[in-house]
């Protein structure tokens, strides 16, 4: 006769143990998925812009270097920077009521500060554009990629082209902005291209730095 007792293996209902096993398996899968998801989502998301399209160099009559006492330089109409794919009309920018530089109304167009010299006149002509909109890249998205020697072309109201060559690309913290270096008077014909850069502060919804490109006219 078969004897029972403590050496016999206990039998369990298969339904009960199957449920327990399912719970453990499900729990481990959920915990594992949670751990994997946590690990994989710890990096910041870098939005990507469309690929760069280098533009052809503009053609047209190049502005003759104006002699002293010549008629005032014509107003700027548009800006092309072939190496970073920029081609934009130039709107007029003034100062805000608090004296700060007005910015273009949309991210797709750049603007010339009318209080600054005209591009090609003696002094530093100021052109500003947005690095991005709320959802994508702006007209000056690639401004910080310019290198000394790159060229910018300004078409003017009289049909002539003023050609500028980049001399410096700098980044400045906005709360320590060097007004004299950027806007101050110069004795030759220069250009300043300005956009935002650096870290974006989500609490104030603004970038913490400005990128400033310095360029001088070449004939």
């Amino acid at each position: 006769m078969r004897r029972g007792g403590r050496h016999s293996r206990p039998r369990q209902t298969s339904a009960g143990s199957r449920t327990a096993a399912l719970l453990v398996a499900a729990g481990l899968v959920a915990a594992g998925a949670g751990a994997a998801g946590l690990a994989l989502t710890r990096h910041p998301d870098f939005p990507q812009a469309a690929a760069l399209q280098v533009l052809p160099v503009p053609t047209g009559p190049i502005a003759a270097a104006p002699t002293q006492g010549a008629a005032a330089v014509a107003e700027p109409l548009s800006l092309v920077i072939p190496s970073i794919g920029v081609s934009t009309a130039l709107v007029h920018l003034d100062l805000t009521s608090s004296g700060a530089l007005q910015v273009p109304p949309t991210a797709t167009v750049a603007g010339w500060y009318t209080g600054s010299p005209r591009p090609g006149a003696i002094g530093s002509a100021v052109i500003a554009g947005h690095i991005d909109s709320a959802v994508g890249p702006g007209i000056f998205f690639r401004l910080s990629q310019l290198q000394p020697g790159d060229r910018a072309y300004v078409r003017r109201a009289d049909g002539t082209l003023a050609i500028f060559e980049v001399t410096q690309v700098r980044s400045y913290a906005k709360d320590d902005f060097p007004t004299v270096a950027v806007y101050g008077p110069v004795p030759d014909r220069e250009l300043r291209l300005i956009t935002c850069g650096g870290t974006f502060d989500y609490s104030t919804r603004s970038y913490l730095s400005n990128t400033v490109v310095y360029a001088k006219e070449v004939s």
């Binding site: 959920a30 946590l38 989502t41 910041p44 100021v126 890249p137 110069v186 870290t199």
Partner: protein, 296 residues
Amino acid sequence: MRFTRFVRRIILLAALPLLLFAIPAASVATASAATSTGWIRLAHLSPNTPAVDVYLYSFGDSSAQIVLHHVAYGTVSPYEQVPTGDYTVAMRAAGASATSAPVLSASVDVVAGKAYTVAGLGPESGLRLQVLDDQLTTAPGKALVRIIQASLKQNVVSVNWGGDTLQSSLKFGVVSSYQTVSSGTATLTVSGGGDTATASVPLAAGTVHTLVVLDGPKGLQIDNLLDAAGSGTDPAGAAATGFGGMAPRAPSSPLPWLAAIGAGLLLAAAGGLRFRSRRVATQAAGGHHRVPAARS
């Protein structure tokens, strides 16, 4: 061996996001040129000296950085932006060989952000090269003016602008100091020895001018050189040219994932407990379910 390779891979994976952060910052730093610059221009202001060739050398170089050929009296070149440092300016007779001894030479130490005019001044018999320190900035809303008297025929001139006397007796070959004037357009009058020249001259706010008195084909002549200009009014502070659409977005909240981990562990614990309690229960109740032991 396999463990260290595994650890190495983990470290590389962890380091990759750090590299992505570093690359954009590095590209801005290397794109900016570190050179400081100043400006130089050259002028021939000696009425009875024939045209010259003017050479600008970086100090110690034997080949010139800039050469201006056949610079005649009254010519002032545009400012050239040059790296800071020591330079030599040499004047030779027009057409003379570049290796011939110069008629005159002078040295200029170009300091960052400063501008200089190197001018041939005086009569031919006493020709000299003078290095002028040029101003670039003015008081807000004002203009800055100086006068170079380069007329040999009128040894002493007086200069009036609008109602103001800028210079009452300026001698030939002298460069006046700078004067601040109210901006605007007015008539500039230069008089000497009965000869007078007038011009309507606009002096805009924030501009610096050098007025040059010359012996022109018809007598006294004034040239108005715009030395420097900036914005009429400088913008205050930085430019708000970005909305953040392309800014890196912070990692998403870890909470949903932590909740999943927590819930999963709870489920697994519940399953484990149930499994364990089933074992205990069946152990305790084991006798009832088996063939009854034949206890005798």
